[in-house]
């Protein structure tokens, strides 16, 4: 029998709301941005909830070690929330954690690819990889030390990723690169996520799908614009890259777009129908300065910016409406991930000696 939402979410959502309140109070980003160098930025973290990150810097002086600690904290964040939930919401949060596993797997395979296929020494770089179990029993050490594709497959044999990866061969990857394989891994994650959305209660399902269908729509739009428009990919190939959910995938405009000749494709009809306002979204001037020669990257940034704005609005709405749904947890994850991403960006900016204004511009 399903428990009532107040029982399920009462405690955890009160806890998360308090944490969100603290996050909003502490002006951490502002202090980080204003710090004069990496040493001072670390000083800001020292008195915050990121003190372990500062500790890693004290011990190693290594920025990537700090990023590893941030990743660990992100994993802990999901686990902590999952611990206080049960049933379908707990499984759902577990699926969200799966995204970190997929990204870690992609990173590990990239390292393997760099070492074995491209013959570049990876030396200590495997040390920056998260090697503990996240969700599935991936043998990270075996994967990173694999001397052939079969050994890679062996490292993931007891996981759902095996089914995706077995379709590829070492030779094929050498020729075509990792892009398609990575897209398939992402697709697998979205499939399991959408499946686990179905098991949620009606209110939770509505909240979760509103967020993830938006993300899927914009991801599909990015694929259509970037690969269909700029890289002029064939329609059949393009279709296999699209995630089979959301409005964009099922829309007649997308069908028309795919049917057009690759050189004449225009995504405007899709944008006008599903993302009014996106065409008017302006990419930050300094971003323009960064990549003025790369139209597809700009378009990507524009869609990302639009996604960020829409997502922000959705999460703000979740924080203001029914407090007894999965929405608050999702908003918390979003805010924490956003904060972590900003911390990484600022620390990197400080490491490379960029000015405060420049970093602000890049962060948008």
């Amino acid at each position: 029998m399903s428990r009532d939402p107040v029982t399920v979410y009462g405690f955890i959502n009160a806890k998360l709301r308090a944490k969100i309140g603290l996050m909003r109070q502490d002006h951490l980003m502002e202090s980080l941005l204003r710090s004069a160098s990496l040493v001072e930025a670390v000083g800001v973290l020292r008195d915050s909830r990121y003190r372990e990150v500062a500790h890693a810097y004290d011990q190693t002086g290594d920025l990537q070690q700090m990023e590893l600690v941030l990743l660990q904290k992100e994993i802990e964040m999901y686990r902590e929330v999952q611990k206080y939930l049960e049933g379908s919401p707990a499984t759902f949060v577990q699926h969200l954690l799966g995204k970190i596993e997929v990204d870690n797997l992609k990173n590990a395979i990239r390292l393997w690819y760099s070492s074995i296929i491209r013959h570049r020494p990876i030396r200590h770089r495997s040390g920056y990889l998260f090697k503990e179990v996240i969700l599935h029993p991936i043998d990270w050490t075996a994967l990173i030390n694999a001397t052939g594709w079969d050994a890679v497959l062996n490292a993931v044999k007891a996981t759902p990723y095996w089914d995706v990866l077995k379709a590829f061969t070492g030779q094929g990857l050498e020729q075509d690169g990792l892009f398609v394989m990575e897209s398939k891994l992402d697709r697998l994650w979205y499939a399991s996520l959408m499946q686990s959305c179905k098991d949620l209660s009606r209110q939770d399902r509505e909240v979760a799908t509103s967020i993830f269908l938006l993300e899927i729509d914009l991801r599909n739009l990015t694929i259509l614009v970037r690969h269909g428009g700029y890289h002029q990919m064939e329609a059949d190939k393009l279709r296999t890259l699209l995630l089979p959910w959301g409005s964009v995938f099922a829309s007649p405009e997308t069908e028309k777009y795919l049917a057009q000749k690759s050189g004449e494709r225009s995504p405007l009809s899709i944008i006008n129908r599903y993302f009014p306002g996106l065409e008017q979204t302006e990419v930050q001037q300094n971003r323009l300065g960064l990549h003025s020669d790369e139209a597809s990257v700009l378009e990507n940034l524009k869609i990302e910016g639009y996604l960020a704005t829409r997502r922000q609005a959705l999460y703000q709405k979740m924080l203001a409406t029914d407090p007894f749904t999965i929405g608050l947890s999702l908003a918390y994850f979003f805010l924490c991930k956003e904060e972590t991403a900003m911390i990484k960006a600022i620390l990197n900016g400080k490491y490379y000696g960029y000015e405060e204004e420049y970093i602000r511009g890049v962060l948008g």
């Binding site: 670390v42 190693t60 030396r123």
Partner: protein
């Protein structure tokens, strides 16, 4: 200790501009003036005055001070406290010079950190191979023994290092051991080939190679670890070397920040400087003589009594002994009392400790709380810069008091770790809960409930009396007489109690049949109804706004209805709320009884373990519940009677001020 908030005086002073810096320093050193922005003074006075832009940007000072703090912390040094601040050493801040010093130090640290990063990366590579050897994952390693026939072995060693590999000579031999990772074999093979590597066929040597290279690996690992740690120590040393300079910069920046904060309250005419602020009356003379001395007597000082200023504008200073700080914090956490009203600290202390003791009465467990509190306080005292943990400084101090309260009530109820080691001084609580306390003063749970209700009545009446004292001091006689927390409210509560106790005494059959009850209640209700009209007419007399008769009647009726509802339901629920004191006390006694029974079922160590575990569990869980419930009763049942919380806190600017201005 003052029973009321400290009397305050408003200082307004004019000094010659050339002495204003000396006055700033004197006031900063004294640290008792809570400045008032000069724009809050009379507008006519304001017209003659002007403000001056600060010569330094306080945000810059603060930012630079934070830089210094970050550097000190990077060197694992403590940030100086306000104790190092000496106003006599105040200088104009040399921001450019400070920036140069800090930039240089930062550059040194960053270059050291870069070295540390390299050591760390080397260490990571070595650690990976070391782990594979330790975990016997030889399949990931590529171990070879052979000879180098072309080129220099140093060159080969250097090239192998790119892959994190090691090349080590076999003792007393021309042969070499090469250890790399198998994943790098496709790159290492051509490299070895280039140096004419000839693999040895000596099986014995091949077998020994792993232990030989293990020593080298261990040595390299230690070297890299040492190097990484050395850099960390070098960072500390570099900062330490600059410590005195950093402290001096920090002090001067902080002093300038504070002076600028004071100056920001100043206003100027052509030749004079004017400022104003609140001072506790007992420190007024001190402030006066400090200003006189600093301005060499060339000043005009005026004092305004707090009575001449609207009460809500006077900052509130509370003087409580240091020992009562935990209870002062409980009050501060709620709000600031109104100026001139009762200082609630001592009352909170008595009420809080009594409530806690009634809920958590045990000599042994109380002693544990005292010891935990003392140990915690000692630990914080030993490490003054230690950040507050789950048991904060305030909680550890509070635990000592709570422990003693628990011990006193434990002795009254005869409970020693749940055991009745000595006879109860009052009555045996546990026996009363278990219902076998025949002949005792209190012999069942109803008796316990009765005690806590009576205790609640005392608390509520104490709150009411404090409210009446406050209202007399505020000269709010109408409210004193006609408010729900005034005399009428108190009288109605008394009538309610009389009826309630009469009902209980009759065995819950009927209320007392007394002729005076109905007229008294009626008069009280009429008086409550009259309050709205009376307040309106008094306000009219003082020039307040005029209302339509209909609106006045409607407002008064609504207010009256709400008041009556609040009196009848509020007092009842507030009184019954104190039953939680009995509830938690009963739960405490029951839990201890259960653990005693459980432990008696198990012989030997198991029984003792259950008894100890039970006590620990009760101390943690019941202690927490009792603490929270006592707080709740204080905040809702006690404070709501007399504590308006409308005051503004007295925050003087001094060397001990908080690092960032909050107001």
């Amino acid at each position: 200790m003052n029973l009321f908030t400290r009397p305050m005086k408003l200082l307004t002073a004019v000094v010659l501009e050339q002495t204003s810096e000396a006055v700033v320093k004197a006031l900063l050193e004294l640290g008792v003036l809570d400045f008032v922005h000069i724009n809050k003074l009379d507008p006519q006075q304001m017209e003659k005055l002007s403000s001056r832009p600060s010569s330094v940007n306080r945000a810059n000072l603060e930012e630079m001070r934070k830089r210094v703090e970050a550097l000190l912390r990077q060197g694992h040094l403590d940030i100086p406290t306000s104790e190092v601040l000496d106003v006599k050493k105040l200088e104009k801040p040399q921001l450019e010079e400070y920036k140069r010093i800090l930039d240089e130090l930062t550059a040194d640290l960053l270059s050291l950190k870069e070295k540390q990063k390299e050591s760390n990366q080397q260490l990571m590579g070595l650690e990976e191979m070391r782990r594979y050897i330790t975990e016997e994952k030889g399949e990931y390693l590529d171990l070879r023994v052979g000879e180098v026939t072309h080129g220099k072995t140093e060159d080969l060693g250097g090239k192998l290092a790119v892959y994190g590999g090691l090349l080590d000579r076999v003792p007393d031999s021309e042969k070499w051991i090469c250890l790399t990772l198998r994943r790098d074999v496709s790159q290492v093979d051509p490299l070895l080939e280039k140096f004419g590597w000839v693999e040895s066929s000596d099986v014995e040597l091949q077998r020994k190679a792993i232990s030989l290279i293990k020593d080298r690996l261990e040595a390299e690992h230690q070297k890299a670890l040492k190097s990484r740690t050395e850099v960390e120590h070098a960072v500390d040393a570099v900062v330490k070397q600059q410590q005195s300079q950093l402290f001096a910069i920090w002090s001067n920046l902080r002093l300038n920040e504070l002076c600028d904060q004071i100056r920001s309250y100043f206003a100027y005419t052509r030749n004079t400087t004017l400022f104003s602020g609140w001072v506790p009356s007992d420190q007024a003379d001190q402030v006066r003589s400090a200003i006189m001395t600093a301005s060499e007597g060339q000043c005009v000082i005026e004092w305004t009594n707090a009575t001449e200023v609207p009460r809500q504008e006077v900052p509130v200073a509370i003087a409580s002994p240091k020992a009562l700080k935990p209870f002062q914090n409980i009050v501060n956490n709620y709000s600031t009392p109104e100026y001139g009203t009762v200082n609630p600290t001592i009352f909170v202390m008595i009420a809080y400790l009594s409530m806690f003791g009634l809920m958590f009465a045990d000599v042994g467990q109380g002693l544990v709380l005292v010891l935990v509190g003392l140990l915690g306080s000692y630990s914080y005292k030993k490490n003054p810069l230690k950040p507050d943990g789950m048991l904060s400084r305030n909680v550890t101090s509070l635990l000592v008091y709570l422990g003693f309260s628990s011990m006193v009530f434990g002795a009254l109820f005869g409970s020693y770790f749940g055991l009745s080691l000595f006879p109860a001084l009052w009555f045996n609580y546990e026996a009363a809960v278990a219902g076998h306390a025949e002949g005792s003063l209190i012999h069942d749970v109803y008796g316990i409930l009765g005690i806590t209700i009576k205790f609640g009545i005392i608390i509520i009446y104490t709150g009411l009396v404090l409210n009446w004292v406050n209202l007399i001091r505020k000269r709010s006689y109408v409210t004193l007489l006609l408010d729900k927390n005034g005399l009428v409210g108190g009288l109605l509560f008394a009538v309610g109690l009389y009826m309630g106790f009469g009902f209980v005494e009759s065995g819950y059959r009927q209320f007392p049949q007394t002729s005076w009850v109905a007229p008294v209640v009626t008069v009280c209700l009429v008086l409550l109804f009259a309050r709205g009209f009376l307040s309106y007419f008094l306000s009219l007399r003082k020039g307040g706004p005029k209302h339509e008769p209909g609106k006045l009647i409607l407002d008064s009726v609504m207010e009256w209805l709400v008041d009556v509802l609040e009196i009848f339901t509020g007092y009842l629920s507030n009184t019954l709320s104190f039953m939680r004191v009995a509830g938690l006390g009963i739960a405490h006694a029951s839990l201890m009884e259960s653990f005693k029974m459980l432990s008696s079922l198990v012989d030997g160590f198991g029984g003792i373990a259950i008894f100890i575990l039970g006590n620990v569990l009760v101390i943690v869980l019941e202690g927490l519940s009792a603490g929270i419930q006592s707080l709740r009763l204080n905040y809702y049942e006690f404070f709501s009677r007399y504590f308006t919380g409308k005051g503004i806190a007295y925050e003087p600017v001094g060397l001990n001020s908080a690092s960032s201005e909050k107001r």
